[in-house]
């Protein structure tokens, strides 16, 4: 891939993930722009054949393998390019600087120009790709409307593709129109002129996010020798080519080969962007680019630490062979592959035997996390990379992943997981259905979490956090690790070019089984990281989700920042988020709390049936709308694809939600039994609501809270810590119906002694509140309907206090249990339990603020119950 092929290539380049492939090899487009020159007598802008041949030889010597031209070239030009082993990116000019969408004639001219240009070069093996338009002025786009312009670009690409199906097509954009998207383009092409490395690097990261899963080609970049000086230009082009390659671009095109340039009917003489003079004398920058193009695209890494690739597999025989085969061909100097067979019962063992270089570890089925931990323990590399048996790694996967990891301050990194071209049609529908593995980005380079099928971490940080949590048997372990690392102040990066091919589920049954696993993982994650979830257990993502699925119906239009009078140099697109309220209509909660009750009531009261029908139709309409908006690949689209996506939008929330609640119910039942078995005698209500302890002064509040957290977690309570915005220290979710909020305060006494006060306030859980409100609503409805006939029905609300009593009893038992833990901890820390009265002022000083634990404040005069310490040491309670 580094060295350009000397022999002419007679085949066409094709898109391969984030890159191009030619003759089975990766093809990195290393190009220069060429012309246009002053037209000759025939009006051709490509100069004389002899000059072109000499220029092509010089371009080959430069190390380039392609040229970009701004007019459709004659066949002899393409023949020469082929002869010199160059590929040609052809721009097709038409009057894009006019308001072309206002004139049918202008549009027809554009169509005809594109059609003729493509027909003129049809079948020529030197053609790399066609760009159907280059840099539409931002004002024209603003005038005509971005959406209309996008549709027209797609139309041009589609008609060009109809003319020449085997070619690649794109359109060339630039920062003022960066918001323009084309669903038909094979790759993304951008012209970028930024003169500072930091901004350039950041902008490339942004462009990679915009390009998403398509290759990104830098269509133009360069510098003027006259204004900036040749030395500066050398330095500039050197770092631009290097940063472009490190950013995972699929190609770079330097503007331009020569200073000779003819534009707008005149020669351009006050600019000198060329690598050679008008007389074709190489400048210093020619040699600078030559040096960089020899290295490009793989500039040396700062170092090449050994990487251990861990593949955890449970009955993944169907795709395991392809996975291990791809890992065998990774282009990275030092790596090992560890296959952890998690008790598979299929042909995994036989397949593994065919790969003697792979270290295979077989264990009984203990789940995904344990398997990955086994892999970490066996790893000898400094970095541990993870992929799955249903993935196939790109040959440069590790090179980009490790390169981006080493060049960042991150401790872990992930990348794309793309749909393999050979995957099934159902898998393509699954790809755009909700719930697929996706990366969530906080910025263009920092991820909030990354999917487990493509991630790498330093082994030391994985060991620091104790590896993956074994509680995650099927999924969720990747998210948990990312969040735990972030909670420790670490950062997770994203490598746009380090990608794997990920085979999706190819049957509805397999997809739903996967979603059930994700639902269970969500329930576990919600228990462990409640701050990332809302009250009903749905995730609250703190970044932008990048995946092929839109995750819902988008109602609002995207917003484009054009700048005042449309003059901004970077015109940014702010995509609208899917409508959360609409997506709620497909949730399990909606069906249980709205559709089902209304359906039951409509059975009792037939006049309600239109309401019940509306509830059902609303869900169906949302699913259909989501399927219509899904971005299905044209090649993988059939007449049944969108109905299938709609069906999956309907079934996925039900399956995932059901699995989530099933696990939560199971856990809350277990906890309830556990709570009931608390051995201590029941305490009075007031005794459990506020507990006070006295300390000699060697215990701080944070230590006390840390000890309590550990104890409670050990006993299986779900704990949410104060995120800094709460007026409590801990929220303890003990049962399904109730939770408890604990707030503590320290009173500084004289001689460094302290009083600790702990207040435990019971709270109803969201489920309890919903149950109570639903009961009240149903009772009121029944009363409204029956009271004229049976006045005694008004006594029905007397059942509500019993509902409250049941929930209150749960809350009380939870409080008792936590109070027991508090008392036990106090005993362990040699704190003395004091009664509420003993802790009353004047002992309570002005320093009694929740956040003033260790700050020395004016000591109060009351000495505290030291005198009673001895007699209470055994019980821990002052009489």
């Amino acid at each position: 891939m580094n060295a350009p092929s000397a022999s002419p290539s007679t085949s066409r380049a094709a898109v391969d993930g984030k890159f191009f492939r030619l003759n089975g090899e990766k093809f990195f487009f290393k190009g220069v722009t060429y012309g246009p020159f002053a037209p000759d007598a025939q009006g051709e802008t490509f100069g004389r054949k002899a000059q072109v041949a000499a220029d092509f030889a010089s371009i080959r010597a430069l190390g380039a393998n392609g040229v970009r031209v701004y007019y459709p070239p004659p066949r002899w030009f393409l023949d020469l390019a082929l002869e010199h082993g160059l590929k040609v990116l052809i721009d097709i000019p038409w009057p894009k600087h006019l308001c072309f969408l206002d004139s049918a004639e202008a549009q027809e001219t554009a169509r005809e120009t594109v059609r003729q240009a493509v027909a003129g070069a049809k079948g020529h093996p030197a053609v790399f790709a066609f760009s159907v338009v280059n840099e539409i002025p931002a004002e024209i786009v603003r005038w005509s409307g971005a959406r209309r312009v996008e549709v027209f670009i797609d139309e041009l690409i589609d008609l060009a593709r109809a003319e020449e199906p085997s070619a690649l097509f794109t359109f060339t954009s630039y920062p003022p129109t960066e918001f323009l998207r084309s669903s038909s383009a094979d790759f993304i092409c951008f012209n970028v002129y930024l003169h500072r490395p930091k901004e350039f690097e950041a902008y490339l990261a942004r462009l990679q996010m915009l390009a998403d899963t398509k290759p990104l080609l830098l269509g133009e970049f360069g510098m003027d020798s006259l204004r900036e000086g040749e030395a500066h230009k050398c330095e500039f082009l050197s770092w631009q080519i290097e940063l472009g390659a490190r950013a995972g671009l699929a190609g770079t095109v330097v503007f331009s080969f020569t200073d000779e340039w003819f534009r707008g009917g005149l020669p351009v003489e006050d600019w000198a962007f060329g690598l050679t003079t008008r007389e074709r004398q190489p400048k210093e920058s020619y040699f600078a680019v030559q040096r960089q193009y020899q290295l490009s695209p793989f500039f040396p890494l700062p170092r090449s630490p050994k990487v251990s690739v861990v593949v955890a597999s449970y009955n993944g025989g169907r795709t395991l062979r392809a996975c291990l085969e791809s890992l065998r061909h990774l282009k990275y100097p030092s790596y090992e592959v560890i296959l952890v067979d998690d008790g598979s019962t299929d042909d995994t063992r036989t397949i593994a035997q065919a790969f003697p270089e792979v270290r295979t570890i077989r264990q009984e089925n203990l789940g995904l996390s344990v398997a990955r931990n086994t892999g970490i323990a066996a790893a000898t590399g400094e970095i541990v990379a993870f992929t799955d048996s249903d993935c196939r790694a790109d040959e440069d996967w590790l090179r980009y992943l490790v390169g981006d990891l080493l060049n960042s301050e991150c401790v872990g990194i992930g990348g794309h997981n793309l749909l393999p071209p050979d995957d099934s049609l159902v898998a393509a529908a699954v790809l755009v259905s909700p719930g697929g593995p996706a990366h969530v980005m906080l910025t263009d380079r920092e991820a909030e979490h990354i999917p487990g099928c493509n991630m790498a971490f330093y082994k030391s940080v994985l060991e620091e956090i104790g590896g993956f949590d074994p509680v995650f048997r099927k999924a969720g372990d990747d998210v948990d690790v990312c969040w735990r690392l972030q909670q420790r102040g670490h950062r997770i990066g994203f490598s746009p070019a380090g990608f794997v091919w990920h085979y999706r589920r190819s049957t509805i049954q397999a997809y739903l089984k996967q979603q059930a696993g994700y639902g269970e993982a969500e329930a576990l994650l919600a228990r462990k990281h409640p701050e990332y979830f809302n009250g009903v257990g749905n995730g609250i993502w703190r970044g932008r989700i990048y995946s092929s699925s839109r995750h819902g119906v988008v109602l609002q239009r995207s917003i484009i920042y054009h700048g005042t009078f449309g003059s901004a140099f970077f015109q940014t697109l702010y995509s609208a988020a899917p409508s959360f309220p609409l997506m709620l209509c497909t949730s399990l909660e909606y069906h249980i709390l709205v559709t089902l009750p209304v359906a039951l009531l409509s059975w009792l009261f037939p006049f309600l049936w239109p309401l019940a029908a509306t509830c059902v139709l609303l869900s169906l309409a949302v699913c259909i709308a989501a399927a219509v908006q899904a971005e299905l690949s044209v090649a993988k689209r059939r007449f049944w694809s969108r109905p299938l996506v709609a069906l999956l939008f309907l079934l996925q929330p039900l399956e995932r939600g059901w699995a989530r609640y099933r696990l939560r119910f199971a856990r809350s039942t277990a906890r309830r039994d556990f709570t009931a078995s608390t051995p201590s005698p029941a305490m009075a209500l007031e005794e459990t609501e506020e507990l006070s302890f006295w300390s000699k002064g060697d215990v701080e509040r944070y230590r006390f809270l840390a000890g309590l957290t550990t104890r409670l977690e050990r006993r299986g309570f779900d704990i949410r810590l104060d995120s800094g915005w709460s007026n409590f220290d801990l929220e303890i979710s003990g049962t399904f119906w109730s939770r408890l909020r604990l707030i503590t305060v320290t009173e500084e006494l004289e001689l460094g002694r302290r009083n600790f006060h702990c207040r435990l306030r019971g709270q109803w859980s969201l489920a309890a509140k919903l149950l109570f409100l639903a009961s009240a609503a149903i009772e009121l409805l029944v009363i409204a309907l029956i009271a004229p006939l049976k006045p005694w029905i008004w006594m029905l609300p007397l059942t509500l206090p019993f509902v409250a009593l049941l929930v209150g009893e749960q809350s009380h038992r939870l409080r008792e249990s936590v109070a027991d833990e508090l008392t036990a901890l106090a005993r362990e820390l040699k704190l003395v339990r004091i009664t509420h009265r003993q802790a009353q002022p004047p002992a309570r000083s002005a320093s009694a603020k929740p956040d003033n634990t260790s700050r020395p404040t004016t000591p109060a005069k009351t000495p505290g119950p030291e005198c009673q310490l001895k007699e209470s040491a055994e019980t821990g309670v002052v009489p």
Binding site: A787, P791, L796
Partner: protein, 124 residues
């Protein structure tokens, strides 16, 4: 405050019991006055010659007749006996028909009361 917290469920129950009791009484009163309004509307419409409308209200009165308490039934009887001639059969007159239906209903109820009385008398 401690008393309130300790007994909050009982107090909630007691408070609701009070409110619900009041609502039951209010509902009974409402039901009763609703029937009286219906009856008076029926008499008025019939008297003014709105046959079809009176017929509609007559049907509504009949449909709720069995649920009426004895007291209301007696009130209806007393009100209608001033408007019709009990000794003269007049099946075309809706007021007389309602009077006749109410009278039958009272008789039916008195029969069941009589049966209960006889049962009591025969008990050892």
């Amino acid at each position: 405050m401690r008393f309130l917290r300790r007994n909050r469920y009982f107090l909630l129950f007691a408070g609701l019991f009070l409110v619900c009791g009041v609502m039951v009484l209010r509902q009974i009163e409402l039901n009763h006055s609703a029937h009286s309004d219906l009856r008076e509307a029926f008499i008025l419409l019939h008297t003014k010659g709105y046959k079809a409308e009176a017929q509609h209200l007559f049907q509504r009165l009949l449909s709720g007749l069995e649920q009426l308490p004895n007291k209301t039934l007696t009130e209806d009887f007393q009100r209608l006996v001033t408007l019709v001639d009990p000794g003269k059969q007049d099946p075309e007159n809706l007021l007389w028909k309602y009077y006749w239906t109410v009278s039958n209903e009272m008789e039916k109820r008195s029969e069941s009361t009589l049966a209960k009385a006889l049962k009591l008398a025969h008990e050892p």
